[in-house]
Every structure is written in structure tokens, then in C-alpha cells.
Subunit: 266 residues, 2 copies
DNA sequence: CCCCTTATTCCGTATTACGGAAATTAATAC
DNA sequence: GTATTAATTTCCGTAATACGGAATAAGGGG
């Protein structure tokens, strides 16, 4: 009885990987911000795992507190253990605390939203979001995701990431949606150029209509991966010119000041 | 070759539980707010799993983005997937959004910290924390834990939880620290009495010296478990009297208004 | 140079996870 | 009331997988 699915490309990556664990984590990964409780069927569809397997995995996850079972509707939602894990993960990121104050400064000066993020698989993940006192507020919080290909933040990552990681990410983006590839590729080429010339990457209405943003990356050190800072706002708050002329130097200064902070003594 | 550890009591609970997954999740659970990166050794000690097994699990978790490997120190920290999961879990909790505004009201009126929490294993977990404008701020955020046995919040849960769950939790608390049991038992007895008579449970300096709090529980509905609201502050901000006389009625009113909100049409 | 500590790789074993199919439960239609 | 559809869970034989003890490798002081 073959345990690995028939059509699956076997990428030889997995010398020593615990499949049962990977699958269980994939089940958890099904739950995205915004969609409600999920039934086993839906989970099976998303993970492309056999139903009986999903049943066993959800049972296990529920017993351990990672999922909550809603008896009436026979669906699952993420449980307390998931929340606690996120708390532990964010709590351990000292860079957030270090960056928050200067980010707030920048946000106030530009009247924009300033965010700190890192890559998570094929998205960028917000780690800290700071708004100016003017409450325009794009509805984004720490822990939410944003496009890797079309946001300024994602492009800044793509422009500065280690080549191997970048190529891997681009490859997967491509096989995920081949139709979007031309736009993605163009955006990435532009991003690398912008990064080289201006030090920042842009997304003017490309991630979402009417939203402008610029972003740049830095290496915090301390074993943490490449991180990205961005400044963004609706176009009527920040024109592309104001972002490029006023926000850009401040953003670059901030990023430079955070380069290697975690490796510095003190 | 026995795969289950020798001395382990086998609780027959596990008809259909995926051990590899449970163990992997236990590894993630090792990472607590506040402690830095963990090495395999440390993880093996905390989980009481063999070293080679831990090695395999951490490798798997790292490949999937749940852990980050810090090469220099050969340690692991929680990765982006963990953060994203927490975000998804909190984002799906509509009760937070519903409760926030009235909680803020209450916080402003009492000049205390108002928090919403639920149980996670042997702790209470903060889901939402709201401060009065007066920035005294106990350093607590959504996603952090607080004692089940000694906090007002924990006691309110113990007083109202389904008997089976309560007994299970108490049993485990007892075997975790037998020495503390007399204090715990006394606190719980008192809590049940307070809940019956006053509708709230108290912790006046028992969780942490100089910190007073009261708490009460409610059932939000929508398949969610019992939740707890508390009002707390340093003793010099809120005396026990002011909590009992002024905060208590407001807290009870808030809890009652949230009872079953998620089941109500609209 | 050697010892000590920690992480990883090896590898034979049999336990465990697997998944197709049957059974169960639930809801809706007829 | 019965039939039909749909979803979840249980069963169970199979063998692939995870297991863990021991050996190996990689550092880091003393």
C-alpha cells in the first residue's frame, strides 16, 4: 500500500522528515484569518489528504488543544494552544520592541502606516504595525499576511533575499498561478532595479488599488532572517512623490539604524 | 522495541491519536513567552523525549517554517508559521471585537486593566487586554498566560467550568505541584463560594503581591467554551473595596450582556 | 591534545500511521 | 415514513514509517 499519493512529485528533500507531523501542521495551516470554522471535508480538500487521515489528525489536534470542536456544526476552529503559540513567538522577538518607537516616529511624521514584516512561505507576515494618530487604518494587525509578489514589502524581500531562497519562492509562486507570472516577473525585475538605485521598492496601487507603499529590508542579526520595513497609505494621504521624497530617506535611515542591532553588545 | 517510555502510565485515552503529531506539538509547546532560543538538548529535557527523536522533529518543524534555526548557537526559535497561526486564531474570534468597546469603557471607569481570557491547558490565556488611559500597565498582552489556580481569572473559570473539566484540571495541577495543593484547594473552595454569593471570584494579592483583581465568567455561545472577564490593578489604584463595590456590578453587567451574544441573531 | 557537551546520522525493528471501504449519523427531499 | 444525499468516524489488514540506542561528528574549553 503506497502511503505517498500517486501523482505527487517527490522532491527528494525529505531525508528525515516526520510525515505525520508535517500533515498535522498542514491541517493547522488550513485555517486562515477571516474564514470561519472548517469541517473535515473542507480540510481534506484544502490539504488534499484522505478523509480518514484528516479525521485522525483533527481528533489528535483537538485532544491537544490546538483545535476546538464545535459540536452543533461539526466543524473545527483554532484552539487556545494556537493562540498561545503565536503569543510566545511574538513575545520572543526583541526586535519588535526595539523598532516600535522609531517606527511610531516615522508613522507620525509621514501620517502613514509603518510596518515590520518577515517572509512566511509565500507571503509576507506583519510582525508589528504602527499607525499615525490620524486614524485612517488599513485593517492590518501583527500576524496577518500580505502578498509577496505585489506588495512593496514582499518586493523588498525578493530584492534582497538570498538567491536560493528567492528562486525557490519565485518558482513556487509561478506554479501556484502561472497566469499571473508575467506581472510578477515584471514587478520583481522592477523591484531589484529600484532596490539598487533608490534603496527601496515600491508598490503604487499594484497590491491594492489606491494604496501606495515603499519598503526596504535590513538584517537585524541575532540569527533572525531578513526583515522588511514599509511605509504605506492610501494615495490621498501619501502621494508617490511624498513617499519617494520625504518618507524614503527616513525609512532608509531607520532600516540602517536597525541593521545588526541584535548583534551589537548591549 | 517498546516505543512508549517505560514508566509511563498509559491512560487508555488514546484510541486514535497520532503520536508523532502530538510529540511535534509538544516540541512547539516548549517555547514559552520570555525564554530565548532553545537547543535540542533543552527541548529533549522539557518534553522527556529521546534526543534523536527531538532532532528529527525539530528538523521537520524547521523545514515547514514553524521553527527557525540559529546556526551560530545551534538553537531554535519559533518561526513565522507560528506567528501566522496565532494571528489566524485571534482573527477568527469575533467575540474579541464585540467585547472590546465595552471592556474599554469599564477600564476607563475603573482605571484598571480589563481582560478577556479562556483556559488553555493549565493556564488562563489572555485574548484581549484593555487598559485605562492612565498608563500603569501590567505587562500583559493577548496571547500571554496567567495562573489558573491563583489568579481571579483562573478561579472564575474553575468555579464555573463543567465538573469533568474542572476535576481534570485540578487533578493535573495537583500532580504538577503537590506542595502547593493546600493553597490551591483553599483558593478554589473560596472561589466557588464567592461565585455563588457575589457572582465574582477574587484574587487580592494572591497571584502577585500588591495586585488585586476580580473576575467572572460567561458563555459567549457560537460553540466557544466558557470565557472569563477580569478587572485588575495594583492595590494603590484599586482597593479591594472599590473593586467589590464599584467594579463588581459593572463587570457583572458586562458579562451578562455578553452571555450568548454569538448565538443571537444578527 | 584531550575531554566534555551537544547535535546528527545510522540502521534494524515492529509499532504506528495509513487509507479504502463499511458503518454511522444527520439532514433534506419525496 | 422512507429514500436519498452528504459528511464523519470506525474498522482493519498492510507495510511503510517513526522509533530510539548506539555510533559518529562537530565544537569549545581547559
Amino acid at each position: 500500500m503506497a502511503r505517498r499519493r500517486a501523482g505527487e512529485a517527490l522532491p527528494a528533500e525529505a531525508a528525515d522528515t516526520v510525515t505525520a507531523l508535517t500533515r498535522g501542521l498542514d491541517v493547522l495551516g488550513c485555517f486562515r484569518r477571516g474564514d470561519g470554522p472548517l469541517g473535515n471535508q473542507e480540510i481534506a480538500a484544502r490539504t488534499r489528504l484522505p478523509r480518514s487521515t484528516v479525521s485522525r489528525l483533527t481528533a489528535t489536534l483537538t485532544r491537544a488543544g490546538w483545535l476546538l470542536h464545535v459540536p452543533e456544526t461539526q466543524r473545527y476552529r483554532l484552539g487556545p494552544a494556537a493562540i498561545a503559540l503565536g503569543g510566545a513567538a511574538l513575545g520572543g522577538l526583541d526586535i519588535r520592541g526595539i523598532a516600535r518607537a522609531p517606527m511610531q516616529d516615522l508613522a507620525n511624521r509621514t501620517r502613514a502606516v509603518v510596518a515590520l514584516g518577515m517572509r512566511d512561505r509565500l507571503s509576507m507576515l506583519y510582525l508589528e504595525v504602527v499607525r499615525s494618530d490620524a486614524p485612517i487604518s488599513l485593517n492590518l494587525e501583527a500576524g496577518s499576511r500580505i502578498s509577496l509578489a505585489f506588495s512593496a514589502m514582499g518586493r523588498a524581500w525578493l530584492a534582497a533575499a538570498p538567491p536560493a531562497e528567492r528562486e525557490d519562492a519565485l518558482l513556487r509562486l509561478r506554479e501556484l498561478d502561472d497566469g499571473a507570472w508575467p506581472r510578477i516577473a515584471a514587478g520583481v525585475a522592477r523591484a531589484r532595479e529600484d532596490a539598487a538605485v533608490l534603496g527601496i521598492c515600491c508598490s503604487f496601487g499594484e497590491w491594492q488599488d489606491g494604496v501606495n507603499a515603499i519598503a526596504t529590508s535590513f538584517r537585524p542579526g541575532g540569527g533572525l532572517p531578513l526583515m522588511v520595513l514599509n511605509v504605506g497609505a492610501p494615495a490621498f494621504v501619501c502621494s508617490t512623490e511624498s513617499l519617494l521624497d520625504e518618507a524614503r530617506p527616513a525609512l532608509l535611515a531607520l532600516a540602517r539604524s536597525l541593521d545588526g542591532v541584535l548583534d551589537r553588545p548591549g
